[in-house]
Symmetry: C2
Subunit: 145 residues, 2 copies
DNA sequence: CTTCCTGCAAAGAGTTTGCATCAAA
DNA sequence: TTTGATGCAAACTCTTTGCAGGAAG
């Protein structure tokens, strides 16, 4: 059951429903082609251009956000509600930052620069606990205890 | 006089020097083509592929950062030292955030998620004071005083 | 002189678009 | 029915690459 509703004036097609559902299931923003392939695997019949056209529409409706990650040249698409996240540079796992502390910072920016703040995006790169453990094991065994 | 030095093993060509200098002069990260055109205007003879090749090298050396801005599909390139900024959505002016408050937040993330933090990027979108003023004038005059 | 750099043109990759067909309302 | 959505293939845009000539060390 999808929480996101298809906007007024747009038809409910199985491709569109599937794309939205997939975005809801995935915390990680996906490449257009990943969306296409994952849905194909699930037995949904669609084309890459349908994926792009739907993502474009959803972006214009403010439902989807398009973002480029560090050292990548393909756009990723995710739900607008999932915007601030941590990325593990080793396994690429993504962890959403729920209580974005940016709100506090906002006031400061408004004071100092006089900007009206409309929005923001934060990307943080690091190593997740699981990978940290694996990596330290490897370095220990290479030291041969 | 350029603060950035050309890395060891790379030759000092006029194109390379000019690209680095241009990046130093501009707070705003530039598109590859903008760099190409601006340098052409200054009378420097270069090609677009030279721009790309140099930016690529500088990025691998950690001197330059490649970033995509919201609603843009072309990469922008700026010096790595100029990473956190405010962007005016109206005039596209960029203001660098000097004292990034992220450091405080980092501790919190490490505690909550157990990530080792390697780096981060913050983009903030808003309207700068100048544009705000212009925009409010326009809406007043449209109200006809 | 040797090595690296450049310009040009061609190739590549991701994304967008036109058109005929198809399905939702 | 009417209107919007889809699939396909072609077109486009940005970026990368191969190669021969040229400049820096």
């Amino acid at each position: 059951m999808s929480k996101i509703k298809i906007p007024e004036g747009y038809k409910t097609t199985k491709q569109r429903k599937a794309i939205i559902q997939l975005l809801e299931e995935n915390i990680t923003p996906l490449h257009a082609e990943e969306i296409y392939l994952k849905l194909k695997e699930k037995g949904i019949d669609l084309s890459l251009s349908t994926v792009y056209r739907n993502l474009d529409m959803l972006q214009k409706q403010g439902i989807v956000v398009k973002a480029y990650m560090l050292n990548e040249d393909k756009a990723r698409f995710g739900l607008a509600s999932k915007k601030n996240y941590l990325v593990c540079q080793s396994c690429k796992k993504i962890v959403i930052i729920d209580n974005c502390p940016f709100e506090k910072f906002k006031e400061e920016l408004i004071e100092v620069h006089g900007f009206d703040i409309l929005g923001h995006s934060i990307e943080v790169y690091g190593i997740c606990p699981e990978c940290k453990e694996k990596l330290s094991k490897n370095s220990e065994s290479s030291k041969d205890r």
